[in-house]
Structures are given as structure tokens and as C-alpha cells.
């Protein structure tokens, strides 16, 4: 077999011929060609990666102090808050890190939706991303159970009970998940183990996500392919420094929450120790689950509600085959753009209605919003793929960037 030659000398050369660390870094980071017109929305991918690292580091340190036992869990968290050196910082970083992780990932997903980043040849890249989202949801849900407060306990009870909706086997699934006849110590210890394990699975999928990304490179706001070297710049230093700057802005928000409003996004009831005899007046999941919770409650039938909620995520997997329009970026799809923004607002409506009691006008709103959620994917996308005429695409990224500078936006030139 022929050894891939490299341009290094000395030790670097020797090592690289045996383990291509240097050429790997060079190909995938330093010289990695990246479209030069990426906007700040492209920062959120690397931000998500950094947040994942922050979560794993703080999580490992927390696990050293936490006790996964239903009698001791609540007090062990309070011991972290009161007695462990900087323990409050550690815990608030982890707690608010989860919120920030979802904010970042949701923006990342909406960016993909807007600019058509899921389209050929990036279908698998997108599907790996949806897998990461699913794993994140599972991890976040189990992590929320660990402090063993009232919302932990009742959230776990309600969500695991979803599985009882399945006919015949439902009850046995739930008993199996609990390891008993209610959410109790066995549930807590397995959730702790899985909460510790799953993030490493996420890391694995993230690696695949990046490998898939580097097959065809990043999409860009114009959604057109890179055509020549003039369209790209090396990742380093251009995008490394842009990512650092983005990280700085991100940290201001994140640490602002941690230091000045650490419990803003959490629920007060979780500072009441879990009590299997008393259910809180309103059980509300964390905000990042609210849209899905709203979809669950929009349907009067238990099984249908559960299935619909799971479909809300599942539908993302087949997205590349629902929207087959040749033009990627919404900038050149005037109709899709309108429906996209409606969908965006609709997600907030779902989130809001998910936090409201399931009665009266809220039920109606949640049904309309749920309907639009699925119509957007299953009806509007395929129809637009067939009938929408896109605007004329610029011939290349380089030419568009120039015309952008000298003239006005390309949005003016409609397709005939």
C-alpha cells in the first residue's frame, strides 16, 4: 500500500505518515475551505459543540458530588449548592447550560430549515442532526429528574406514563421503565446512569455529523454550491475567530443568566422535595418541550396524542424528501419564505399554549397550531416543491458578494 505523502519534515513527517494528526487538522480545520458568505447564523453549530463540552465537564464534576438515591438526591443537590466550593456555580452552569443548549440547537435547526441545509447532498447530515436532537431530549428529560424535586418527580411520572397509551403492552412498558410500580428509587438510579451515558452517545453522533458535513462542506445563505476557490476562504483564521467572537456574545447571555437570574428558566416547584402524595397544581415541562407538550394535549385521544407528539419529531427525519425544491435558500423562494416564518411563529404559539392550562380557548389554539405544524411539513412543502418558481440564483458566491456590495440586495431580481 502506498503511504500518502505529506509536505512535512522531521518528526512531524514521521508521525503524520503513521497517524495523520497534522494533515487531519490541516484538512478539516486550518485549510478547510468554507464559503465566505456565511452569516452569524452559522455560528450556532460550533456553539452547540462548545455547549456540549461545557455540559459534559460540569456534569462530570457534579456527578462526583451527587447521590442518586431517592432519599438523598434532593439534599445532595442542596449540599452542592451550599457546602461544595463553588458548587452553586457548577450546578447553575449545568442547569442553565441545558437551557442554552436548546436555545442554540433550536436556532441551528431553524437556520437549516430556512436555508434548506437538509437538501441533497446533505440529507444524512440533517438526519444525524435530528438524531442528536432526540438524544438531547432524552438526556435533558432524565437530567431534570435527578434533583428529585416535585417537578422532577411528576414530570417523570407524566412522561413515562405516555408509554401506557400503547395498547396491550403499554402497562408492562411503563412498569419496566420504572423498575417498580411507580417512579421511585430504581427509576432515579437508572435515569442517572443513562443521563451520564447518553451525552457520550451524543458526542459520537456529533462526530458523524461533522464527518458528514465535511463531505460537501457548509451550506451558505445563498444556498448555491461552491464553484471555485474564489467562493471560499480557509476555516482558520476566518471562521475560528468569528466563532470565538460568537462564543463571547453567547457567554455574556449564558453567564448573565447563571449569575443574575439562575432560576429564571426553571420551575419554582422543583425546590420542593418530591412527594408522591401531592401533585403540583400545574405540571409544566421545561420550556424546550412545551411545543411538543402542546401537540400531545391537542388531541383528545391518549394514543393519538402520543403518536402525534412522536411524529412531530419523526417528521423531521423525512424532511429532505418532503421538500424537494431545487433551490435551497429561502432568499430565492418567496412563498416558502412566508410559510417558513409562519411556521416559526407557530412554534412559539405552540410553546405558549403548552404552558397554559388545557381548557377553553387554549385547546382550540393548540389544535390549529398543531394542524399547521404538520400541514407545513406534509402538505405545503411537497406542494411548493412542485409549483413554486424560485428567483434567479446568482452565478456564484463570489459574484453575489460583489454585487451585494456594489448594488442592493439580490432579492430584487424576480424569476420570469
Amino acid at each position: 500500500m502506498q503511504v500518502k505523502s505529506n509536505n512535512y519534515t522531521g518528526v512531524k513527517k514521521w508521525v503524520d505518515e503513521r497517524l495523520p494528526v497534522f494533515s487531519f487538522v490541516e484538512d478539516n480545520l486550518t485549510n478547510y475551505p468554507t464559503p465566505k458568505n456565511l452569516s452569524y447564523f452559522w455560528n450556532f453549530g460550533s456553539l452547540a459543540g462548545i455547549t456540549l463540552v461545557i455540559m459534559i465537564v460540569t456534569g462530570i464534576l457534579l456527578a462526583m458530588q451527587y447521590t442518586a438515591n431517592s432519599d438523598l438526591a434532593f439534599d445532595s443537590v442542596e449540599r452542592i449548592m451550599r457546602d461544595v466550593n463553588n458548587g452553586w456555580l457548577l450546578r447553575y452552569l449545568h442547569m442553565n447550560g441545558a437551557h442554552m443548549f436548546f436555545i442554540v440547537v433550536y436556532i441551528h435547526i431553524f437556520r437549516g430549515l430556512y436555508y434548506g441545509s437538509y437538501k441533497s447532498p446533505r440529507e444524512i447530515l440533517w438526519m444525524l442532526g435530528v438524531t442528536i436532537l432526540l438524544l438531547m431530549m432524552a438526556t435533558a428529560f432524565m437530567g431534570y429528574v435527578l434533583p428529585w424535586g416535585q417537578m422532577s418527580f411528576w414530570g417523570a411520572t407524566v412522561i413515562t406514563n405516555l408509554f401506557s397509551a400503547f395498547p396491550i403492552i403499554g402497562e408492562s412498558i411503563v412498569t419496566f421503565l420504572w423498575g417498580g410500580f411507580s417512579v421511585d428509587n430504581p427509576t432515579l438510579s437508572r435515569f442517572f446512569v443513562l443521563h451520564y451515558l447518553l451525552p457520550f452517545a451524543i458526542v459520537g453522533v456529533v462526530v458523524l455529523h461533522i464527518v458528514a458535513l465535511h463531505m460537501h462542506g457548509s451550506n451558505n445563505p445563498l444556498g448555491i454550491d461552491v464553484k471555485s476557490d474564489g467562493d471560499t476562504i480557509p476555516f482558520h483564521p476566518y471562521y475560528t475567530v468569528k466563532d470565538y467572537y460568537g462564543l463571547g456574545v453567547f457567554l455574556i447571555f449564558y453567564l448573565g443568566l447563571v449569575f443574575f437570574a439562575p432560576n429564571f428558566l426553571g420551575h419554582p416547584d422543583n425546590y420542593i422535595p418530591a412527594d408522591p402524595l401531592v401533585t403540583p397544581a400545574h405540571i409544566v415541562p421545561e420550556w424546550y418541550f412545551l411545543p411538543f407538550y402542546a401537540i400531545l394535549r391537542a388531541v383528545p385521544d391518549k394514543l393519538m396524542g402520543v403518536l402525534l407528539m412522536f411524529s412531530a419529531v419523526a417528521v423531521l427525519f423525512i424532511l429532505p424528501w418532503l421538500d424537494t425544491h431545487k433551490v435551497r435558500s429561502s432568499q430565492f423562494r418567496p412563498y416558502y419564505k412566508q410559510f417558513f416564518w409562519l411556521f416559526f411563529v407557530n412554534c412559539f404559539v405552540l410553546g405558549w399554549v403548552g404552558a397554559m392550562p388545557a381548557e377553553g380557548i387554549y385547546v382550540t389554539i393548540s389544535r390549529i397550531a398543531t394542524a399547521y405544524y404538520f400541514i407545513f411539513f406534509l402538505v405545503i412543502m411537497p406542494l411548493l416543491s412542485k409549483f413554486e418558481k424560485g428567483r434567479v440564483l446568482p452565478s456564484s458566491i463570489a459574484s453575489s458578494v460583489l454585487s451585494d456590495k456594489f448594488e442592493s440586495a439580490p432579492d430584487q431580481s424576480f424569476a420570469k
Partner: protein, 253 residues
């Protein structure tokens, strides 16, 4: 859209009175100004000491603060000797000793506060079936935080004519359902402050609420003072990163 998001976040930071997303709807609470509000807010030690006195003389009969250790009182400005003598007023069960017996001894600074009841069942039995909650985290565990507690303690009013009050319950405009099992605990001049502060009902409530805000978030002072420095540092660093970014990107068209 991005600008809107930033504005949204800024509004969060600037409106710290409502410390929680889920308390936004609590319109019936009259917002109070607390010394520990905002970026530069800190606990007022003398108010905490008065609040601690109120807790011991009024609340401790029914409510524990089981997560607080005596040694934590150093944050209120007590010396080691003060703390030792406060701790020695409490008795706790320890053991087993060499003979295998449990025994009671005076508490040490390293011990935690002992509640008035041995367990929940005893607490319920002595209070007509209602459980007086532990107060260590009460301010964090209620939507509205310190404002909720202040309003609740001030919320005892005359029972309206058409209101059906259950036996052993008291009318309170703030408590969910408007009836609460706790009788109005605080009146004018019911404590005599060691520092001679006039003990109006409002003052007492304010002090004990401050004290309980401290038991819930003893790290608040440290958190905010580190936080201010961290944010200043980050603003500077981010600004410099922006300058670096601008310079590097200057030749890209």
C-alpha cells in the same frame, strides 16, 4: 429576529423583580424593593439578623430550616462564639454511643438546624392535618419569591361576607384558594428587636422575608459580586475579539 431575541434577553436581565419565567402571571403580588435585588443588590446583614430573631421567636415553633447549618450564620455577621452559643441552645439526637444507645447532646456549629417535629407525621398531627413546610428553600420554591412571601404574610384580611371559610382555616388573599391553615403569624410589636428597630408588622415581615431569602440563596452575595466581574471581563474580551475579527476579515470581499 436576532435583534428581537437580544432585546428579549435584555428585558429578562433588567426586570429581576420577577425572578422566574413562571411567575410572570402573578399579577396580584405587590412588588417590593429588596436590598438584594438587581446586579449590585446584596443582603443587609442587620436585617438578616433581625429576621433570624423573628424566625426563632415566631416561626420556629412550627417551621424548620433543616438545610441551614449553624456555621452558616457566620454570613449574618455572627462570630464563632456567638454561633457556638446559638447552637448550644438546640438539642439533637446522636449516637449510638459505646453502649449502643442513642443520646441527646447540645448542637455544634457543624450541625444543621433542628426542626420542631421529628417527622412529617408528627407535624401533621400537631397542626390539624396541615403540614407546615420547611422554610429553608421557601423563597425559591414559590413563584414570585420574596414578593410572594411578603404579600402572603401581609395578606390576612377580614373574611368577606359571602366567603365560606372551612373550620380551622384563615382567610388570606394571596394563598391559592384564599384559605390557609396558618393563622396570621405577625403583628405589630410582637418581637422586641435587639437593635431597637421599631418592630412594625411591615418591618418584621420585611426582615423575616429577607432572612428566608438568605436561607434559600446563601450564595447570592458571592454570586453577584463574582458575576459583575465576570460580565465586565466578558464584555471587554468580546469587544476585543470583535476587533480581532474585524481585522482578520478586512481583506475578505
Amino acid at each position: 429576529m436576532k435583534i428581537g431575541f437580544i432585546k428579549y434577553i435584555l428585558i429578562f436581565f433588567l426586570s429581576f423583580h420577577s425572578i422566574n419565567l413562571y411567575s410572570a402571571g402573578k399579577a396580584d403580588l405587590v412588588e417590593q424593593k429588596w436590598p438584594f435585588d438587581g446586579f449590585f443588590g446584596r443582603f443587609d446583614q442587620s436585617s438578616l439578623q433581625r429576621g433570624f430573631q423573628v424566625y426563632r421567636e415566631v416561626c420556629a415553633g412550627c417551621h424548620g430550616i433543616r438545610l441551614v447549618s449553624f456555621r452558616d450564620l457566620a454570613a449574618l455577621g455572627y462570630t464563632n462564639d456567638d454561633i457556638k452559643s446559638i447552637a448550644s441552645e438546640y438539642e439533637i439526637e446522636d449516637g449510638p454511643n459505646d453502649e449502643g444507645e442513642m443520646f441527646t447532646r447540645f448542637a455544634k456549629p457543624s450541625d444543621k438546624f433542628v426542626g420542631p417535629y421529628r417527622n412529617k407525621n408528627e407535624a401533621r398531627a400537631s397542626n390539624n392535618g396541615s403540614y407546615p413546610p420547611d422554610l429553608s428553600l421557601i423563597v425559591k420554591a414559590r413563584a414570585g419569591g420574596a414578593d410572594y412571601l411578603y404579600n402572603l404574610l401581609n395578606g390576612y384580611k377580614e373574611v368577606p361576607e359571602n366567603f365560606r371559610l372551612n373550620d380551622g382555616m384563615y382567610y388570606n388573599t394571596i394563598y391559592p384558594g384564599k384559605q390557609i391553615a396558618m393563622p396570621q403569624p405577625i403583628y405589630d410589636d410582637m418581637v422586641e428587636y435587639e437593635d431597637n428597630t421599631p418592630a412594625s408588622q411591615d418591618q418584621i415581615i420585611r426582615d423575616v422575608t429577607s432572612f428566608l431569602a438568605w436561607t434559600a440563596e446563601p450564595e447570592l452575595d458571592e454570586r453577584k459580586s463574582i458575576g459583575v466581574r465576570v460580565l465586565l471581563f466578558l464584555f471587554l474580551l468580546t469587544l476585543m475579539l470583535y476587533a480581532v475579527k474585524r481585522k482578520i476579515w478586512r481583506d475578505v470581499e
